[in-house]
């Protein structure tokens, strides 16, 4: 025991310095060294977990939005088709109505024209008739004046006329 190699003999001085040095290093590392690293790593781990969860959520939401967009697009397309159809219908109706109106108008115009023509015709006939009457009166007058130039002829005419009337 007395003569063991010095690396095998406990030595108070060495133990004292080891204790002191170890306490120093323990103090500084526990205070400033390891917690900085482990806490940061722990926080980073949490942050990564959170980020992953968020990313997952976001991708899910994106999927949702995509689906929503598709349904919206589908709806819009349907709406568009419907509107187009309605527009076509409206157009047809308007055209039909316009045609109807045009037809009615033409009928009315034609009727008016006919009426006008008829009126003009009557007017013309009346005109002609009066002219004919005037002419015939004139002619009759001339004829009468011719025939009544002698008394005898006048008497004969009166007689004939009276005969005619008395008959």
């Amino acid at each position: 025991m007395e003569n063991l190699p010095s690396i095998l003999t406990p030595d108070l001085g060495l133990l004292f310095w080891m204790l002191f040095a170890f306490l120093v290093v323990l103090f500084f590392l526990v205070r400033f060294g390891f917690p900085a690293i482990t806490n940061t790593v722990e926080k980073r781990k949490q942050y990564i977990d959170e980020s992953l969860a968020k990313a997952h959520e976001a991708s899910e939401r994106l999927l949702h939005i995509k689906q929503e967009g598709e349904t919206l697009l589908q709806e819009a397309r349907e709406q568009q088709a419907k509107i187009m159809k309605e527009a076509a219908e409206t157009r047809d109706a308007i055209v039909e109505k316009a045609e109807e109106k045009a037809r009615q108008e033409s009928v009315r115009i034609i009727a008016e024209a006919k009426q006008q023509i008829a009126f003009e015709k009557q007017e013309a006939i009346r005109d002609i008739r009066s002219q004919v009457a005037e002419l015939s009166v004139n002619i009759a007058e001339k004829i009468l004046r011719e025939e009544l130039s002698s008394d005898k002829a006048q008497q004969a005419n009166i007689d004939r006329l009276l005969d005619e009337v008395s008959k």
Binding site: I7, M18, A21, G33, T38
Partner: protein, 349 residues
Amino acid sequence: MKQIKTIVLLFLISFLPLQLWSATEESAAGGLNISEIVLEHLSDNYEWHIASYKGKSLSIPLPIIVRSSATGAWSVCTAETLPKPFFFDAAHHGKIYEQMPNGSHVRPLDLSITKVVLQIWIVVLVLLCIFGYCSRWYKHHDEKSEAPRGFVGAIEMIVMTINDDVVKGSIGEKHYKPYAPFLLTVFFFILTSNLIGLIPIFPGGSNITGNINITLFLAICSMIAINVFGSREYWKDIFWPHVPTFLKVPVPLMPAIELFGVFTKPFALMIRLFANMMAGHAVILSFTCVIFLGWSMGVGFGIGLNTFSIIMLLFMNALEFLVAFVQAYVFTLLTAVFIGLAHPQAETE
């Protein structure tokens, strides 16, 4: 081609000790006492020897601080200026002893900054630099910015491996928090000491973890950490274990064994680390000595032996590099496992 270069280089290196040996041959005069050299290199010293050349040695003097047992006075000096009542006792591997007035030799209170103490402080300084640098990086970044790269990233990786796999895995999610910094400190202290011990010249090379005092201290710390905060179930298991009653009532056989186990666990930790590191250093030093031995046996024999021992040296250094990590890991892992055993409800969860 590349391999030929390597082989030539190896031969050149194996020639190198020729000059060194011729220098030391004169001073050594009578053969080579390898076990003496190895032990001397392994043990603590009052000065830091760097190299010898032609009988002169280059070494860093270290302060000696001793308290006289006779007078109680402190003296501070170096190895050259050691005052009178003290002397380096060759019978006790050069430790400082004091000549008492009655002629007996006693060991005074010796708080010298020896080679190992200085080496411990270098390790402390290295650790503080590394983690000071790392924590500064973390101060300037938060978790939302990038993760560290390069050196800080490597340190973070090791810290988190020990923290998550070793400490959390062994002690359990519930109780590991207060022990983690201590175990991490132990791991990095042992790892840095082991690695620095492998550097052959001044800022490293001293054999810290291969000194029983250091492993004794670390084992005592582990024992405190294991037992002082042990749960009630743990202590009940020691003094009243789940065994047939006749094994514990008239003669407390099992409690005695269990109580013995409390001390053997840290003792095994102490011996394991000490023996591994000491043996590694001893083997490397022995192979280095074989180089010198080979040259003393003649040139032809020397070249063969040196080539072999240099290959072995490289292999041993690589192996020790691995062992440095493995031993630090094992010490931390076993301490964590024992702490975990002292919190048995965490096991059952």
